[in-house]
Amino acid sequence: MPRARRRALGAPALTTGLTLAYLSVIVLIPLAAVVAKATAGGWHHFWQVAWNPEAKAALELTLELAGLVVLVNAVFGTALAWTLVRDDFPGKSLLNSIIDLPFALPTIVAGLTLLALYGPTGGLGVNIAYTRIGVLMALLFVTLPFVVRTVQPVLLELDKEMEEAAASLGANRFTVFRRIIFPNLFPALLSGVALAFARALGEFGAVVLIAGNIPFKTEVASVYVYQHVSSDDPTGAAALAVVLLVISLGVLLAIGAVRRWVTRHDR
């Protein structure tokens, strides 16, 4: 039986029209302006501007760091999710709530807290200011919840009986993890990692205080864009912004595809 189309109760044309108008004014037209600016001089000019050495370095650094973020989060995010689901200790529910703090805390404050503890005034003898490792730590701070929160529900739902059956058939703990648990976790892990990657690509607030703005050393793509707008080079900024936009869109599409693949057995 095909999906029935109900007679619409209400004012569909008006609501839909206003919704689309709002979306256009707030999101679509501004983004179009970026693409237009970047490609104003033609494709050749666009690639020249986008691919100048400083921009290239910024993009490379951003992708490198985002890749590292993905790896670290994959390991520790899964470990955290595991601890929250399978382990028990005093303060566990407090930990569960704290995990969401990076979602709620302003990014500039995140950067500042890291500088306060690991920077020149931290008293720990380390100084992450103006270093790549400092930028990495800022990115890890803001992406902390992503993998945890996508893996946690899957772990919760995982049928213990599957593992018990495998154990009764002779599989040791490592094999059980490798052949039973991990394949079930993998799609959720991918999804969380993709979200973390997209976030790390564009993060600005947490990074800006730590990075300073040393081109070729700690300047990530978002700081490059900011710098070039501030110094009245919107074309240069727009060029790299478009590249970032395209990568973000690609990641969004990938997340959508992963989600569809994950639920393919449910349909």
């Binding site: 569909p12 999101v27 500039i108 205080l209 900024a237």
Partner: protein
């Protein structure tokens, strides 16, 4: 057995190093010299203005995006808007975009030589480096939250009750007011909490479009940056504590509301 403790301690260690210790230190540093210096730092004219401006932006942006969020959810779910999947993806865009890209897009649009900026400047309307552009930035980055919370709940509760109200004589508006809205109220509330938190914490986009002029176009997050860069650590920490306190309040609200939202999305029949 060792495996379990290894996992536990490495996970807890990681969270402590990356998250807990830095945040705890900020609170310590802000109140290190007592409540007095903290209060002084947070009541300087620039700080007060920054907080005021932040709230003035939130008080407009949050209701606007809430109304839009509900209308958009209804258009996608009930009116089966053509291209609904695409609209859903566009609504999710702000979540994946870098805030500086958002700021840049508004900068280009409303600059003197921008598509809208030219006309607006000629008519004496200042958008960039003023409240309007900051509001537009807030609207852009906080757009998705109410929509994303309401859409699944609207789908789950189904259209039967609304049709029943129609057969009983209720106009579309009455049906919306008395039947639909009560059913989605927890989803809307949760979305409002997320939207507000996002607006209060916004930094990147608003930095680009506002110019960050202290006492004029500087929100609280920009105040933190400016204080730090002017070596006013006390001021920076104090403002950070205010923002962190708001973040904690957000988390508490989220924890309290989430179960209610999950219950409202289930059919009882």
């Amino acid at each position: 057995m060792i495996g379990k403790y290894a996992v536990r301690f490495s996970a807890l260690g990681y969270v402590t190093v990356i998250l807990v210790a830095p945040v705890a230190l900020i609170f310590w540093r802000a109140f290190e010299h007592g409540l007095g210096p903290f209060w002084d730092a947070i009541t300087t004219p620039n700080a007060v203005h920054a907080l005021k401006l932040t709230l003035e932006l939130a008080i407009v942006a949050v209701p606007l995006n809430t109304v839009f969020g509900i209308a958009c959810a209804i258009a996608i779910v009930r009116y089966r808007m053509p291209g609904g999947g695409l609209v859903n993806a566009i609504v999710d865009l702000p979540l994946a975009l870098s805030p500086v890209v958002v700021g840049l897009s508004l900068y280009l649009l409303y600059a003197r030589d921008g598509w809208f900026g030219g006309w607006l400047t000629r008519h004496g309307v200042q958008v960039l480096f003023a409240y309007p552009s900051m509001l537009l930035a807030m609207l852009f980055i906080s757009l998705p939250f109410v929509v994303r919370e309401v859409v699944p709940v609207l789908r789950e509760i189904g259209i039967d009750a609304e049709e029943a109200a129609a057969t009983l004589g209720a106009s579309a508006f009455t049906t919306f007011r008395k039947i639909t809205l009560p059913a989605i109220r927890w989803a809307v509330t949760y979305g409002v909490v997320l939207t507000t938190a996002r607006v209060l914490g916004e930094f990147g986009a608003v930095s680009i479009v506002s110019g960050g002029i202290a006492g004029r176009t500087q929100v609280l997050t920009q105040y933190v940056q400016a204080s730090y860069e002017n070596f006013d650590l006390t001021g920076a920490y104090a403002a950070s504590v205010v923002l962190a306190g708001l973040a904690v309040a957000t988390l508490v609200a989220m924890t309290l509301i989430k179960p209610k939202e999950e219950r409202s999305g289930h059919r009882d029949a």
